[in-house]
Protein backbone atom coordinates (compact mmCIF):
# COMPACT_ATOMS: atom_id res chain seq x y z
CA UNK A 1 0.00 0.00 0.00
CA UNK A 2 2.81 2.38 0.75
CA UNK A 3 6.06 2.52 -1.08
CA UNK A 4 8.80 0.78 0.90
CA UNK A 5 11.89 2.70 1.92
CA UNK A 6 14.87 2.56 -0.39
CA UNK A 7 16.11 -0.40 1.61
CA UNK A 8 15.94 -1.86 5.09
CA UNK A 9 16.62 0.79 7.77
CA UNK A 10 20.26 0.83 8.76
CA UNK A 11 21.19 0.93 12.45
CA UNK A 12 24.62 2.26 11.58
CA UNK A 13 23.11 5.22 9.71
CA UNK A 14 20.92 5.93 12.72
CA UNK A 15 23.88 5.90 15.12
CA UNK A 16 26.23 7.82 12.86
CA UNK A 17 23.61 10.39 11.96
CA UNK A 18 22.89 11.23 15.57
CA UNK A 19 26.59 11.39 16.46
CA UNK A 20 27.33 13.65 13.50
CA UNK A 21 24.44 15.96 14.32
CA UNK A 22 25.36 16.28 17.99
CA UNK A 23 29.01 16.95 17.26
CA UNK A 24 28.03 19.59 14.70
CA UNK A 25 25.76 21.19 17.28
CA UNK A 26 28.48 21.14 19.93
CA UNK A 27 31.16 22.60 17.70
CA UNK A 28 28.68 25.13 16.39
CA UNK A 29 28.83 26.81 19.79
CA UNK A 30 32.45 27.04 20.87
CA UNK A 31 31.58 29.02 23.99
CA UNK A 32 29.32 26.31 25.39
CA UNK A 33 32.03 23.85 24.56
CA UNK A 34 34.65 25.78 26.50
CA UNK A 35 32.56 26.68 29.54
CA UNK A 36 32.79 23.42 31.51
CA UNK A 37 36.53 23.27 30.79
CA UNK A 38 37.06 26.83 31.98
CA UNK A 39 35.01 26.00 35.06
CA UNK A 40 37.22 22.97 35.69
CA UNK A 41 40.36 25.08 35.54
CA UNK A 42 38.92 27.89 37.68
CA UNK A 43 37.74 25.55 40.42
CA UNK A 44 41.17 23.97 40.58
CA UNK A 45 42.81 27.36 40.78
CA UNK A 46 40.71 28.14 43.86
CA UNK A 47 42.17 25.34 45.93
CA UNK A 48 45.75 26.59 46.28
CA UNK A 49 44.26 30.01 47.07
CA UNK A 50 41.61 28.77 49.48
CA UNK A 51 43.41 25.94 51.24
CA UNK A 52 47.16 26.23 50.93
CA UNK A 53 49.77 26.78 48.24
CA UNK A 54 52.21 24.44 50.06
CA UNK A 55 53.41 21.82 47.55
CA UNK A 56 53.18 19.09 50.21
CA UNK A 57 49.56 19.88 51.10
CA UNK A 58 48.62 20.27 47.44
CA UNK A 59 50.06 16.97 46.33
CA UNK A 60 48.13 15.20 49.08
CA UNK A 61 44.81 16.52 47.98
CA UNK A 62 45.45 16.78 44.24
CA UNK A 63 43.60 13.57 43.19
CA UNK A 64 40.52 14.47 45.22
CA UNK A 65 40.47 18.07 44.00
CA UNK A 66 40.88 17.08 40.37
CA UNK A 67 38.13 14.49 40.60
CA UNK A 68 35.65 16.72 42.41
CA UNK A 69 36.29 19.51 39.91
CA UNK A 70 35.74 17.04 37.05
CA UNK A 71 32.53 15.87 38.71
CA UNK A 72 31.18 19.40 39.01
CA UNK A 73 32.24 20.31 35.48
CA UNK A 74 30.36 17.27 34.19
CA UNK A 75 27.31 18.29 36.20
CA UNK A 76 27.48 21.79 34.74
CA UNK A 77 27.27 20.48 31.20
CA UNK A 78 24.36 18.16 31.91
CA UNK A 79 21.53 20.59 32.36
CA UNK A 80 21.47 21.72 28.75
CA UNK A 81 21.98 18.19 27.46
CA UNK A 82 18.41 17.55 26.28
CA UNK A 83 16.76 20.89 26.97
CA UNK A 84 17.29 22.58 23.62
CA UNK A 85 16.31 19.42 21.77
CA UNK A 86 13.12 19.30 23.76
CA UNK A 87 12.28 22.93 23.11
CA UNK A 88 12.72 22.76 19.37
CA UNK A 89 10.90 19.45 19.05
CA UNK A 90 13.84 17.42 17.76
CA UNK A 91 13.73 15.32 20.92
CA UNK A 92 10.16 14.23 20.28
CA UNK A 93 11.04 13.39 16.69
CA UNK A 94 13.95 11.28 17.91
CA UNK A 95 11.82 9.44 20.48
CA UNK A 96 9.05 8.86 17.93
CA UNK A 97 11.05 7.84 14.98
CA UNK A 98 14.26 6.15 16.09
CA UNK A 99 13.98 2.41 16.21
CA UNK A 100 15.59 1.41 18.57
CA UNK A 101 15.91 4.58 20.63
CA UNK A 102 18.91 3.00 22.38
CA UNK A 103 21.25 3.80 19.48
CA UNK A 104 20.76 7.56 19.14
CA UNK A 105 20.85 7.79 22.94
CA UNK A 106 24.26 6.10 22.97
CA UNK A 107 25.39 8.41 20.16
CA UNK A 108 24.12 11.44 22.06
CA UNK A 109 25.98 10.44 25.20
CA UNK A 110 29.12 9.59 23.25
CA UNK A 111 29.07 13.00 21.59
CA UNK A 112 28.56 14.68 24.94
CA UNK A 113 31.43 12.71 26.45
CA UNK A 114 33.71 13.63 23.55
CA UNK A 115 33.20 17.33 24.28
CA UNK A 116 33.26 17.14 28.10
CA UNK A 117 34.78 14.02 29.62
CA UNK A 118 37.49 13.55 27.04
CA UNK A 119 38.94 17.10 27.22
CA UNK A 120 38.78 16.93 31.03
CA UNK A 121 40.77 13.72 30.91
CA UNK A 122 43.38 15.23 28.63
CA UNK A 123 43.63 18.41 30.66
CA UNK A 124 43.90 16.65 34.04
CA UNK A 125 47.63 15.77 34.02
CA UNK A 126 48.49 19.38 33.18
CA UNK A 127 46.45 20.68 36.12
CA UNK A 128 47.77 17.80 38.21
CA UNK A 129 51.23 19.17 37.57
CA UNK A 130 50.11 22.57 38.84
CA UNK A 131 48.81 20.88 42.01
CA UNK A 132 52.08 19.04 42.48
CA UNK A 133 50.53 15.65 41.78
CA UNK A 134 53.07 12.82 42.06
CA UNK A 135 54.32 12.02 38.52
CA UNK A 136 53.61 8.31 38.92
CA UNK A 137 49.94 9.15 39.68
CA UNK A 138 49.43 10.96 36.38
CA UNK A 139 48.69 7.93 34.25
CA UNK A 140 46.31 6.30 36.80
CA UNK A 141 44.52 9.64 37.16
CA UNK A 142 44.04 9.90 33.41
CA UNK A 143 42.99 6.27 33.09
CA UNK A 144 40.58 6.73 35.96
CA UNK A 145 39.06 9.80 34.33
CA UNK A 146 38.93 8.08 30.95
CA UNK A 147 36.98 5.19 32.47
CA UNK A 148 35.02 7.20 35.03
CA UNK A 149 33.78 10.20 33.06
CA UNK A 150 31.68 8.03 30.69
CA UNK A 151 29.92 6.63 33.75
CA UNK A 152 29.39 10.14 35.11
CA UNK A 153 28.02 11.35 31.78
CA UNK A 154 25.68 8.35 31.49
CA UNK A 155 24.34 8.53 35.06
CA UNK A 156 24.04 12.28 34.65
CA UNK A 157 22.16 11.65 31.41
CA UNK A 158 19.50 9.77 33.36
CA UNK A 159 19.08 12.77 35.65
CA UNK A 160 19.06 15.20 32.72
CA UNK A 161 16.45 13.10 30.90
CA UNK A 162 14.26 12.83 33.99
CA UNK A 163 14.31 16.58 34.58
CA UNK A 164 14.15 17.68 30.94
CA UNK A 165 10.70 19.20 31.07
CA UNK A 166 10.95 20.75 34.50
CA UNK A 167 11.36 24.34 35.55
CA UNK A 168 13.30 23.45 38.69
CA UNK A 169 15.84 21.45 36.70
CA UNK A 170 19.27 22.54 37.89
CA UNK A 171 19.30 22.01 41.64
CA UNK A 172 17.12 18.92 41.46
CA UNK A 173 19.46 17.46 38.84
CA UNK A 174 22.41 17.87 41.21
CA UNK A 175 20.49 16.20 44.02
CA UNK A 176 19.52 13.31 41.75
CA UNK A 177 22.89 12.51 40.27
CA UNK A 178 25.59 13.52 42.75
CA UNK A 179 24.85 10.64 45.17
CA UNK A 180 25.08 8.24 42.25
CA UNK A 181 28.53 9.64 41.40
CA UNK A 182 30.00 8.55 44.74
CA UNK A 183 31.47 5.17 43.72
CA UNK A 184 33.15 6.66 40.64
CA UNK A 185 34.65 9.41 42.76
CA UNK A 186 35.96 6.96 45.34
CA UNK A 187 37.44 4.53 42.82
CA UNK A 188 38.96 7.28 40.69
CA UNK A 189 40.58 9.10 43.59
CA UNK A 190 41.88 5.94 45.20
CA UNK A 191 43.55 4.81 41.95
CA UNK A 192 45.50 8.06 41.85
CA UNK A 193 46.22 7.96 45.58
CA UNK A 194 47.45 4.37 45.53
CA UNK A 195 49.78 5.21 42.66
CA UNK A 196 51.15 8.31 44.35
CA UNK A 197 52.02 6.28 47.44
CA UNK A 198 53.82 3.74 45.27
CA UNK A 199 51.13 1.04 45.32
CA UNK A 200 49.45 -0.76 42.45
CA UNK A 201 46.35 1.15 41.23
CA UNK A 202 45.07 -1.75 39.10
CA UNK A 203 42.31 -2.76 41.54
CA UNK A 204 40.16 0.38 41.47
CA UNK A 205 40.90 0.90 37.78
CA UNK A 206 39.60 -2.57 36.96
CA UNK A 207 36.49 -1.87 39.02
CA UNK A 208 36.02 1.36 37.11
CA UNK A 209 36.40 -0.51 33.82
CA UNK A 210 33.77 -2.99 34.94
CA UNK A 211 31.47 -0.17 35.98
CA UNK A 212 32.01 1.63 32.69
CA UNK A 213 31.16 -1.42 30.60
CA UNK A 214 28.06 -2.09 32.64
CA UNK A 215 26.96 1.54 32.48
CA UNK A 216 27.47 1.76 28.71
CA UNK A 217 25.34 -1.34 28.22
CA UNK A 218 22.52 -0.71 30.67
CA UNK A 219 22.17 2.99 31.42
CA UNK A 220 21.11 4.13 27.89
CA UNK A 221 17.94 2.06 28.36
CA UNK A 222 17.11 4.08 31.45
CA UNK A 223 17.86 7.32 29.58
CA UNK A 224 15.64 6.24 26.70
CA UNK A 225 12.79 5.38 29.08
CA UNK A 226 13.18 8.72 30.84
CA UNK A 227 13.18 10.61 27.53
CA UNK A 228 9.90 8.94 26.54
CA UNK A 229 8.38 10.47 29.65
CA UNK A 230 10.05 13.80 28.92
CA UNK A 231 8.41 14.27 25.53
CA UNK A 232 4.93 13.43 26.72
CA UNK A 233 2.35 16.19 26.61
CA UNK A 234 3.60 19.59 27.38
Amino acid sequence: MTAPLASEPSLWVLFRGQLRRDLKLAFGQPSELANPLAFFVVVITLFPLGVSPEPGVLSGMAPGVLWIAALLATLLGLEALFRRDRDDGTLEQMVLRAQPLYLPVVARMLAHWMVTGLPLTLLAPLLGGMLNLAPEARLPLMLGLALGTPVLVLLGGVGAALTVGLRTGGVLLALLVLPLFVPVLILGVSAAELASSGLDPAGPLLWLAAGASFAITAVPFAIAAALRIGVETG
Binding site: L155, L166, R167, L172, P179, V182, A226
Partner: protein, 260 residues
Protein backbone atom coordinates in the same frame (compact mmCIF):
# COMPACT_ATOMS: atom_id res chain seq x y z
CA UNK B 1 10.29 -9.69 31.51
CA UNK B 2 6.54 -9.34 31.11
CA UNK B 3 6.85 -11.74 28.18
CA UNK B 4 8.45 -14.41 30.34
CA UNK B 5 6.04 -13.76 33.16
CA UNK B 6 2.99 -14.07 30.93
CA UNK B 7 4.22 -17.33 29.51
CA UNK B 8 4.92 -19.08 32.78
CA UNK B 9 2.20 -21.44 33.89
CA UNK B 10 0.77 -19.76 36.92
CA UNK B 11 -2.05 -21.39 38.86
CA UNK B 12 -5.31 -19.69 37.88
CA UNK B 13 -5.91 -18.46 41.41
CA UNK B 14 -2.55 -16.68 41.58
CA UNK B 15 -3.08 -15.06 38.21
CA UNK B 16 -6.50 -13.80 39.27
CA UNK B 17 -5.08 -12.48 42.53
CA UNK B 18 -2.35 -10.62 40.66
CA UNK B 19 -4.86 -8.93 38.39
CA UNK B 20 -7.19 -8.08 41.24
CA UNK B 21 -4.29 -6.64 43.19
CA UNK B 22 -3.92 -4.06 40.44
CA UNK B 23 -7.21 -2.53 41.51
CA UNK B 24 -6.77 0.31 44.01
CA UNK B 25 -10.34 -0.23 45.18
CA UNK B 26 -9.62 -3.87 45.99
CA UNK B 27 -6.60 -2.77 47.98
CA UNK B 28 -8.57 -0.15 49.87
CA UNK B 29 -11.37 -2.49 50.82
CA UNK B 30 -9.24 -5.54 51.61
CA UNK B 31 -6.55 -3.95 53.71
CA UNK B 32 -8.88 -1.83 55.85
CA UNK B 33 -9.64 -4.57 58.41
CA UNK B 34 -5.97 -5.59 58.62
CA UNK B 35 -4.78 -2.29 60.01
CA UNK B 36 -5.95 -2.57 63.66
CA UNK B 37 -4.57 -6.11 63.99
CA UNK B 38 -1.22 -5.20 62.48
CA UNK B 39 -1.03 -2.09 64.62
CA UNK B 40 -1.82 -4.07 67.76
CA UNK B 41 0.81 -6.70 66.94
CA UNK B 42 3.37 -3.98 66.20
CA UNK B 43 2.63 -2.21 69.48
CA UNK B 44 2.95 -5.46 71.42
CA UNK B 45 6.23 -6.48 69.82
CA UNK B 46 7.81 -3.04 70.07
CA UNK B 47 6.54 -2.60 73.63
CA UNK B 48 8.00 -5.89 74.85
CA UNK B 49 11.20 -5.50 72.85
CA UNK B 50 11.83 -1.94 73.99
CA UNK B 51 11.12 -2.51 77.68
CA UNK B 52 13.22 -5.65 77.61
CA UNK B 53 16.01 -3.90 75.78
CA UNK B 54 15.99 -0.82 77.97
CA UNK B 55 15.46 -2.35 81.38
CA UNK B 56 16.30 -6.05 81.36
CA UNK B 57 19.10 -6.66 78.88
CA UNK B 58 22.54 -6.50 80.49
CA UNK B 59 24.81 -3.59 79.54
CA UNK B 60 27.43 -4.15 76.87
CA UNK B 61 30.83 -4.95 78.35
CA UNK B 62 32.53 -2.29 76.24
CA UNK B 63 29.96 0.44 75.68
CA UNK B 64 27.90 0.16 78.84
CA UNK B 65 24.30 1.26 78.61
CA UNK B 66 24.64 3.42 75.50
CA UNK B 67 24.44 0.24 73.41
CA UNK B 68 20.70 0.17 74.15
CA UNK B 69 20.27 2.57 71.22
CA UNK B 70 20.83 -0.53 69.08
CA UNK B 71 17.23 -1.58 69.67
CA UNK B 72 15.96 1.29 67.54
CA UNK B 73 19.00 2.02 65.40
CA UNK B 74 19.19 -1.39 63.77
CA UNK B 75 15.47 -1.67 62.89
CA UNK B 76 15.53 1.87 61.48
CA UNK B 77 18.66 1.23 59.42
CA UNK B 78 17.19 -2.02 58.15
CA UNK B 79 13.90 -0.41 57.15
CA UNK B 80 15.75 2.46 55.47
CA UNK B 81 17.27 0.00 53.00
CA UNK B 82 14.22 -2.24 52.77
CA UNK B 83 12.07 0.79 51.96
CA UNK B 84 14.26 1.73 49.00
CA UNK B 85 14.26 -1.82 47.70
CA UNK B 86 10.47 -1.90 48.04
CA UNK B 87 10.27 1.30 45.99
CA UNK B 88 12.42 -0.23 43.26
CA UNK B 89 10.27 -3.38 43.19
CA UNK B 90 7.16 -1.22 42.89
CA UNK B 91 8.96 0.68 40.13
CA UNK B 92 9.51 -2.51 38.15
CA UNK B 93 5.87 -3.53 38.63
CA UNK B 94 4.74 -0.09 37.49
CA UNK B 95 6.93 0.01 34.40
CA UNK B 96 6.28 -3.58 33.32
CA UNK B 97 2.62 -4.09 34.25
CA UNK B 98 1.48 -0.46 34.42
CA UNK B 99 -0.09 -1.22 37.78
CA UNK B 100 -1.28 2.08 39.26
CA UNK B 101 -1.35 0.64 42.75
CA UNK B 102 2.42 0.08 42.61
CA UNK B 103 2.88 3.79 41.97
CA UNK B 104 0.69 4.66 44.94
CA UNK B 105 2.73 2.36 47.20
CA UNK B 106 5.94 3.89 45.82
CA UNK B 107 4.71 7.42 46.49
CA UNK B 108 3.83 6.43 50.07
CA UNK B 109 7.04 4.56 50.85
CA UNK B 110 9.35 7.44 49.86
CA UNK B 111 8.69 9.76 52.83
CA UNK B 112 8.34 6.85 55.26
CA UNK B 113 11.62 5.33 54.12
CA UNK B 114 13.25 8.74 54.29
CA UNK B 115 11.97 9.15 57.85
CA UNK B 116 13.51 5.84 58.89
CA UNK B 117 16.74 6.78 57.12
CA UNK B 118 16.81 10.02 59.04
CA UNK B 119 16.13 8.11 62.23
CA UNK B 120 18.95 5.66 61.54
CA UNK B 121 21.28 8.57 60.88
CA UNK B 122 20.21 10.54 63.95
CA UNK B 123 20.35 7.61 66.39
CA UNK B 124 23.67 6.51 64.89
CA UNK B 125 25.06 9.99 65.36
CA UNK B 126 23.77 10.27 68.95
CA UNK B 127 25.23 6.85 69.66
CA UNK B 128 28.51 8.02 68.21
CA UNK B 129 28.97 10.67 70.88
CA UNK B 130 29.54 8.28 73.85
CA UNK B 131 31.30 5.75 71.60
CA UNK B 132 33.66 7.89 69.55
CA UNK B 133 33.44 11.11 71.53
CA UNK B 134 31.95 13.01 68.60
CA UNK B 135 28.53 13.27 66.98
CA UNK B 136 29.81 12.85 63.51
CA UNK B 137 32.49 10.60 62.16
CA UNK B 138 32.96 9.52 58.56
CA UNK B 139 32.28 5.94 59.44
CA UNK B 140 31.48 3.75 56.43
CA UNK B 141 28.05 2.73 57.66
CA UNK B 142 26.92 6.24 58.56
CA UNK B 143 28.24 7.66 55.30
CA UNK B 144 26.32 5.09 53.25
CA UNK B 145 23.14 5.86 55.18
CA UNK B 146 23.66 9.57 54.52
CA UNK B 147 23.93 8.90 50.79
CA UNK B 148 20.82 6.75 51.01
CA UNK B 149 19.03 9.73 52.54
CA UNK B 150 20.11 11.86 49.56
CA UNK B 151 18.72 9.21 47.22
CA UNK B 152 15.37 9.33 49.03
CA UNK B 153 15.33 13.13 48.91
CA UNK B 154 16.06 12.98 45.18
CA UNK B 155 13.09 10.71 44.56
CA UNK B 156 10.80 12.86 46.67
CA UNK B 157 12.04 16.01 44.94
CA UNK B 158 11.49 14.50 41.52
CA UNK B 159 7.94 13.47 42.38
CA UNK B 160 7.13 16.94 43.63
CA UNK B 161 8.63 18.59 40.58
CA UNK B 162 6.65 16.66 37.97
CA UNK B 163 3.08 17.83 37.72
CA UNK B 164 1.36 14.91 36.03
CA UNK B 165 1.15 12.09 38.61
CA UNK B 166 1.29 9.47 35.90
CA UNK B 167 4.59 10.78 34.55
CA UNK B 168 5.97 11.40 38.04
CA UNK B 169 5.36 7.77 38.92
CA UNK B 170 7.27 6.40 35.97
CA UNK B 171 10.11 8.91 36.37
CA UNK B 172 10.50 7.93 40.03
CA UNK B 173 10.37 4.27 39.05
CA UNK B 174 13.32 4.73 36.69
CA UNK B 175 15.27 6.65 39.31
CA UNK B 176 14.51 4.07 42.01
CA UNK B 177 15.70 1.24 39.79
CA UNK B 178 18.92 3.05 38.87
CA UNK B 179 19.38 3.88 42.55
CA UNK B 180 18.80 0.36 43.82
CA UNK B 181 21.46 -1.01 41.49
CA UNK B 182 23.78 1.66 42.83
CA UNK B 183 23.11 1.12 46.54
CA UNK B 184 25.30 -1.99 46.96
CA UNK B 185 28.01 -0.40 44.81
CA UNK B 186 27.93 2.76 46.92
CA UNK B 187 27.97 0.69 50.11
CA UNK B 188 30.94 -1.46 49.12
CA UNK B 189 32.93 1.42 47.69
CA UNK B 190 32.41 3.49 50.83
CA UNK B 191 33.29 0.54 53.08
CA UNK B 192 36.43 -0.09 51.11
CA UNK B 193 37.39 3.59 51.06
CA UNK B 194 37.05 3.91 54.82
CA UNK B 195 39.12 0.81 55.54
CA UNK B 196 41.76 2.24 53.23
CA UNK B 197 41.91 5.38 55.34
CA UNK B 198 41.28 4.22 58.89
CA UNK B 199 42.04 0.53 59.20
CA UNK B 200 40.44 -1.44 62.02
CA UNK B 201 37.58 0.90 62.77
CA UNK B 202 35.69 -0.07 65.86
CA UNK B 203 32.33 -1.14 64.52
CA UNK B 204 29.47 -0.55 66.90
CA UNK B 205 27.02 -3.13 65.73
CA UNK B 206 29.28 -6.11 65.29
CA UNK B 207 29.59 -6.88 68.99
CA UNK B 208 30.84 -10.45 68.97
CA UNK B 209 28.34 -13.13 69.93
CA UNK B 210 25.59 -11.31 71.76
CA UNK B 211 23.87 -13.52 74.30
CA UNK B 212 20.19 -14.28 73.59
CA UNK B 213 19.04 -11.97 76.37
CA UNK B 214 20.59 -9.16 74.32
CA UNK B 215 19.58 -10.14 70.79
CA UNK B 216 16.08 -11.44 71.49
CA UNK B 217 14.70 -7.97 72.22
CA UNK B 218 16.46 -6.77 69.07
CA UNK B 219 14.68 -9.46 67.09
CA UNK B 220 11.35 -8.46 68.64
CA UNK B 221 11.94 -4.83 67.75
CA UNK B 222 12.99 -5.62 64.20
CA UNK B 223 9.78 -7.61 63.72
CA UNK B 224 7.74 -4.93 65.45
CA UNK B 225 9.19 -2.12 63.36
CA UNK B 226 8.52 -4.17 60.24
CA UNK B 227 4.86 -4.36 61.20
CA UNK B 228 4.87 -0.67 62.04
CA UNK B 229 6.31 0.05 58.60
CA UNK B 230 3.62 -2.13 57.05
CA UNK B 231 0.89 -0.32 58.97
CA UNK B 232 2.08 3.11 57.90
CA UNK B 233 2.59 2.04 54.26
CA UNK B 234 -0.88 0.48 54.13
CA UNK B 235 -2.49 3.51 55.74
CA UNK B 236 -0.60 5.91 53.51
CA UNK B 237 -1.44 3.93 50.38
CA UNK B 238 -5.11 3.83 51.35
CA UNK B 239 -5.10 7.60 51.61
CA UNK B 240 -3.24 7.88 48.32
CA UNK B 241 -5.85 5.62 46.71
CA UNK B 242 -8.63 7.93 47.86
CA UNK B 243 -6.84 11.04 46.64
CA UNK B 244 -6.05 9.69 43.20
CA UNK B 245 -9.39 7.97 42.68
CA UNK B 246 -11.40 10.87 44.10
CA UNK B 247 -13.45 11.23 40.94
CA UNK B 248 -14.60 7.63 40.71
CA UNK B 249 -18.03 6.53 41.81
CA UNK B 250 -16.90 4.31 44.67
CA UNK B 251 -14.86 7.02 46.36
CA UNK B 252 -17.72 9.52 46.03
CA UNK B 253 -20.07 6.97 47.59
CA UNK B 254 -17.56 6.41 50.36
CA UNK B 255 -17.47 10.14 51.07
CA UNK B 256 -21.25 10.13 51.28
CA UNK B 257 -21.20 7.32 53.81
CA UNK B 258 -18.57 9.13 55.82
CA UNK B 259 -20.83 12.13 55.97
CA UNK B 260 -23.78 10.19 57.34
Amino acid sequence: MKYIFDRLRWPDGLRRLWHRMGSPRWFYETTGPWVPWLAAAAALLIGVGTVWGLAYAPPDYLQGDSFRIIYIHVPAAYLAQAGYILMAICGVVLLVWRMKLADMVMATVAPIGAAFTFLALATGSIWGKPTWGTYWIWDARITSVLILLFLYLGIMGLRRAIERPEAAGRACAILAIVGVINIPIIKYSVDWWMTLHQPATFSVTSAPAMPPIMWLPLLLNVLGFNLLFAVSVIQGTRTEVLLRERRTRWVTDLCRQERA
